[in-house]
Symmetry: C2
């Protein structure tokens, strides 16, 4: 009987296990995770902290017992410490008993994910300095938040935005320290500024964003509890607790030590079939490098949606079906209060850096027929290449339905749409759903006109 060993219990590993167990009842599947839980939605944690989700168990997708019923053996608190590709086995450390054992495999799937990046800030080991990755992290942060008045978030990415809202909704005075000129660096400057303008315009009384700043040192009290953070510019920010959200690093060390080839930012390099350079070893999820469909370059866009796609592909390939994964568009969406912020493809800045000649346009328009009482604004920026006229990327923010347009643009970019093709999009129209001319078509018209004028 063929035996497949999966390392990692986040999104990709469990997806591989579940799919594989459905495809072939005669495969022996074992999944090892160093955590005490498997298959949960880490993306839901900010909404648990916010209070929108009251029972953290709702974030569990499949329990170990459910996996057992499907014929998948789950080993919790079991850390893979070494891969022996010649011997085709892995070394597993039981974190509860401290015992080690060797587990043999016919196919190995590395889905070890990523961990929070811990920046070199002095005294980062003080109490009440958290990062958010596991269910336990979520519980600890929520408990501490409910006893606190002030919070500090180091870093200005998607998770920061969602936690910023979670804290704001709970009346916590929150400050953010961001190294670059604005939060959410996947956005072009003017879009990032609009986001900050919205946040501060509506909640400036309890939110402060320090851009172009870095934290240099945490200050603690006699009990080693953090009480303040010192910035590079000398400013000192008092706080009851700290969130470190300065990015993540892939858990690729054991793979590298076994002779595995890495890609961008130490992620695991895989081919389109999710195979690594090591025989019979696949990798998927947050630990692997992605291929960016627009830039044609490796990228690292770790997301649960991609992890699920990749886990499925790995299962199909182990089952002999030769299925390829074509890559990603860097599609991202996040939420602050009623504001949706989304992007896909290349920003104008990234487009330039990748050798394109971007032409862009931006519109602010109602998301429904203007006379509908619940119509809301969205601001949409579209980026196209002047020479090929292909759509390269889009960014959108607003209280209106941003995500809808983004899904459409994603399909357009993945099919090499030109600006003119977008103008012909027969989007279903009725007043509760869009204006007669959708904002997406309006912004494409403006780009078309700009290109036309340049060619005159």
């Amino acid at each position: 009987m063929k035996k497949v060993v999966i390392i990692g219990g986040g999104a990709a590993g469990p997806k591989t296990a579940a799919k594989l167990s459905r495809l072939d009842k005669n495969i022996e599947i074992e999944l090892y995770t160093q955590e005490n839980m498997v298959s949960y939605s880490a993306c839901g944690l900010p909404f648990y902290i916010e209070g929108l989700i009251t029972d953290i168990n709702n974030l569990i997708i499949r329990t170990p017992e459910e996996f057992q019923k499907q014929g998948v053996k789950i080993f919790l608190n079991s850390k893979c410490t070494k891969i022996n590709p010649q011997e085709k086995n892995v070394e597993i450390l039981n974190l509860q008993t401290n015992e080690k054992k060797l587990v043999s495999y016919d196919n190995l799937v590395i889905a070890t994910g990523a961990r929070p990046f811990i920046p070199p800030i002095a005294n980062i080991g003080l109490n009440n300095i958290f990062s958010l990755k596991t269910l336990n992290d979520g519980i600890k942060i929520r408990d501490k938040m409910r006893k606190s008045k002030n919070a500090l978030i180091i870093g200005g990415g998607n998770i920061s935005i969602e936690l910023l809202w979670a804290f704001t909704k709970n009346d916590i005075k929150t400050q953010v320290i961001e190294r670059s000129t604005h939060m959410l660096n996947m956005l072009d400057d003017e879009m990032g500024e609009l986001v900050e303008h919205y946040i501060l315009g509506n909640f400036g009384n309890i939110i402060k964003i320090h851009t172009n700043q870095e934290a240099s040192e945490f200050i603690g009290d006699n009990n080693n509890n953090v009480i303040a953070c010192k910035l590079n510019n000398g400013d000192v920010i008092e706080t009851d607790f700290v969130i470190i959200a300065s990015g993540i690093v892939p858990n690729s060390e054991i793979f590298k030590e076994a002779g595995g080839i890495l890609s961008i930012r130490d992620t695991i390099k895989v081919d389109t079939y999710m195979q690594t350079n090591l025989k019979d070893i696949y990798a998927c999820g947050d630990v692997v490098a992605n291929y960016n469909i627009v830039s044609h370059k490796p990228a690292w866009i770790p997301l649960a949606s991609t992890a699920n796609k990749e886990g499925r592909i790995v299962a199909l390939n182990i089952n002999g079906m030769k299925e390829a994964f074509h890559g990603v568009l860097s599609s991202v969406v996040t939420k602050f209060h009623n504001l949706t912020i989304a992007s896909c493809g290349l920003s104008e800045r990234d487009a330039k850096q990748n050798g394109f000649t971007p032409i862009s346009a931006m519109v602010t328009k109602k998301d429904k027929a203007g006379y509908m009482p619940d119509a809301q604004e969205i601001t949409l920026k579209l980026v196209a290449d002047y020479y090929s006229q292909k759509i390269l990327g889009a960014q959108a923010i607003g209280p209106g339905d941003v995500h809808k347009r983004m899904g459409t643009v994603v399909a357009c970019i993945m099919s090499d749409f030109k600006v003119d093709d977008l103008l012909n999009l027969d989007l279903p129209y009725a007043p509760p759903y869009s204006p007669t001319i959708d904002p997406l078509l309006t912004v494409a018209q403006i780009i078309g006109q700009k290109i036309f004028n340049l060619n005159k």
Copy 2:
């Protein structure tokens, strides 16, 4: 100075006028309409009747005065009675003075739209039998509804669905007479049945739907007010007023009389540049035939969104820019209470009729991560061709975000996506916006599996 005469004041005519006036300040533009208002959103009328929109003037997009400022002359109550293509002029009847005049043109744009089809039911001339097309129709229906207890709708299309909700919300007991097996015949049977199941399950106390029935005769009182309707099966339905929503017919008669060539269902035949067979005469909007991109056949899908696209194309072509309109996907969306109903491309039934070998799948899934408190269900049906594996169409209903998925599918169909391409769609994911695996990807996976199994 070049003179462009536009006949019709709905969506396409005013769009042509507005776009043309921006493109070229040196064109003389005259627009004639038989109505007493120009450029309004007829699609908004059901929401006015419902009471969601309180001021009917909100439905007016551009007033005649605003057009005048843009250099477009608007002539209200002015009906075009004859086209003389040899002399390059049109005969205009002033409906207020009953005077006729000849108006010459360099380019003529026929945007005469469509009118309600009046079925051959006896006594259809009785009072309180309405159809919905103009602002005045909307006002009359709203006024009558507010004084009524019972309503009867003849026909089960999109407008019927929206009016059915408008009346239901206003506590009017409403009955619908539908000739075929279910309302909304753009849907396949099982989807149409789901819609009726939802409507009757939630509002069966005040709504009754008579399928496979036709009205044969209206019955009036001594004041010629309708009081009942007799069906083919002999049943008599009492009512305070009646809506005739049995489809529409194109206002193409004057064009035909001038030697114009018609297409499907008496719509005007145009080429991809919206040119008719008559020299220097364009046509656009509800009066023209569309080209269905999937079936490669003429279709008639009169919608304001398409009218706007076509109006723009006509303006660009009159301005010498040679812009093509590629056709439509029959994209439709409508709303009943909190239920969205949408379709695009070919239904499974239409796919068979058009010579495809459709493979379909249907899923019911949450529209957001299942643990989000506001997650709602959608039921999505996808149709693909077995041999080419191309996506042919989609239908979706539900209280969840149906329209979002439809926009994405539209882009996929218009770019000749195969089922496998859909599986790779990098839709932006976060728990408030979609499950990690979007319903669209789930339903595509099922079709992929079906095709795979058939090929084994």
